[in-house]
Amino acid sequence: MALFQESMQTAEAIDELHTLGIPDGQMTVITGVPYPERALGRHVEWLRLPQIVIAGALSGLVFGIFLAVITPHLYRLDVGGHPTVSFAPAAIIVFVFTMMATIVWTFLGVLWEMNFPEFGPKYYDKLVTDGYLAVVLEFPPTLESQVRQALTTHGAHNVYRPEKQPL
C-alpha cells in the first residue's frame, strides 16, 4: 500500500506501475474524496445499475397496474358516479408505485453492485479521510523493489505492507 498526498503524483505513479506490468485489476485506489473518473488514469468500471433501475421501474409499473386496475375487479364495489376503474386515479397509483419501485431498486441495486455490506477485515488506512490517496497493489514478489522505487520517485508518502483492518 502506498499513500500519496496529491492526485497528479498518484496518476503518474499508476502510469509507471502500468508499464511495470501490473494490471488495473490488481490495483485499488482508495480516497476520501471522489476524484473524477479518469483523473487517475484508470479505466472506468461498467455498471449494471441503469439496467437494475429500469427493471425496478418496470416492476413498479406492473405492480401499480395490478393494484389500480385489476384488484378493483377482484373486490367489486360500486360507487356512484364513477366506473369501477377509471383512467385518472389509476394513473396516479401506477405513477406513484413506479417511482417507489425505481427508488428502492436504485438503492438496493447500488448496494448490490458494491457488494455491501461487508464488515470483515479489509485493506484500509485511516489517513484516507484526511485527504490522502491510497493505492493498494497486488504484484508478484519479484517486482517488489521496482515497485517501491516507482512509488517513491513519484512522491509516495508512505509505502508499506498493509494489514487487513476490521472496518
Partner: protein, 243 residues
C-alpha cells in the same frame, strides 16, 4: 341479500322519496321518529349548538322579517341518496357505496372515520359520532334491534330505513309475491301527520312516487350540481322554501 330477494324478471327498484312542501308543517315528527327507529344518539344542547346534532333528517329553518311580520321557512332535508353521489368515491375504505337499489349505503362497521365523505357531500347531511353515543336511561329500552348502534368515530346518515326495506322484501319473498306500492315506509314517512312524505319505487311508473315526481311542482335540491338525488321536492306554499 338483495340479489336473493329480487326475482330474475323484475328490475331492481330505485327507491325515492317525495317531500311535499305544501303539506309540510314543520312539526319535526319525522326527526323524532327517525331517532327512535335508527338508534340515533342524543347530544346535549351545547354540542347541538356547535353543529354536532345527530339528526339524520332535519328541518332546515330560516327566519325572515322582523316581529310581528316574522316568517319561518322550512324544508326537511335528509340524505338525498344521490345516484352520482360525491361522497362515495372519496371514502378510502369503501364504507359508503352504491347498492343495486339506488341507495347510498353506509357500512358502519367499515367506517374508520376520515370524514372525507362529510366534506364531499354538498347537502351536509352526514352525521358523525364525535363522542361515544349516549342513550340516557329510558331511551335504552326502545333501541331498535334491527339497527346497529354505532361507536364513536363512525359516520352515519339516512338510509331510507333500509332495515324496513329489507324486512318488507323478505316478507314479500316469503309469501311469494311482489312488493306493493306503499308497503315499504321509512319511519319518517310513516309518522308524518299531513303525509308530506311519500316513499316508493321510482322505477315503477305507476307508483305514487313516480306520479308525484311528474308533477309540475317538482324540483330537486342543488340539482345544478349534477348529483342526481333520489329525493324529489314539491314546491310548496308561502311558508316553505322554494327550490
Amino acid at each position: 341479500m338483495a340479489q336473493d330477494v329480487k326475482s330474475s324478471v323484475e328490475a331492481a327498484p330505485r327507491w325515492a322519496m317525495i317531500v311535499d312542501l305544501d303539506r309540510c308543517t314543520g312539526c319535526q315528527a319525522c326527526v323524532v321518529a327517525c331517532h327512535a327507529e335508527n338508534n340515533i344518539p342524543v347530544v346535549n344542547e351545547q354540542q347541538a349548538a356547535y353543529g354536532r346534532w345527530m339528526h339524520w333528517i332535519i328541518v332546515d329553518r330560516y327566519w325572515e322579517g322582523e316581529y310581528p311580520n316574522v316568517k319561518a321557512r322550512f324544508t326537511p332535508v335528509m340524505c338525498q341518496q344521490c345516484a352520482q353521489a360525491p361522497c362515495e368515491p372519496v371514502c378510502p375504505v369503501f364504507a359508503t357505496y352504491h347498492n343495486r337499489e339506488g341507495l347510498n349505503a353506509q357500512v358502519y362497521n367499515r367506517c374508520i372515520g376520515t370524514r372525507f365523505c362529510g366534506n364531499a357531500c354538498p347537502y351536509k347531511v352526514r352525521a358523525y359520532n364525535w363522542f361515544e353515543p349516549e342513550f340516557p336511561s329510558p331511551l335504552t329500552e326502545q333501541l331498535n334491534p334491527d339497527v346497529t348502534v354505532r361507536s364513536r368515530g363512525i359516520m352515519e346518515k339516512c338510509t331510507f330505513c333500509i332495515q324496513r326495506i329489507r324486512r318488507a322484501e323478505l316478507d314479500a319473498k316469503a309469501q311469494g309475491r311482489q312488493l306493493a306500492d306503499g308497503e315499504v315506509q321509512p319511519a319518517c314517512v310513516q309518522t308524518c301527520p299531513p303525509s308530506a312524505l311519500v316513499f316508493g319505487d321510482l322505477n315503477d311508473p305507476n307508483s305514487q312516487v313516480s306520479q308525484l315526481a311528474r308533477s309540475h311542482r317538482s324540483f330537486r335540491l342543488l340539482d345544478e350540481l349534477g348529483t342526481d338525488p333520489a329525493v324529489i321536492y314539491l314546491k310548496g306554499g308561502e311558508t316553505n322554501v322554494p327550490g
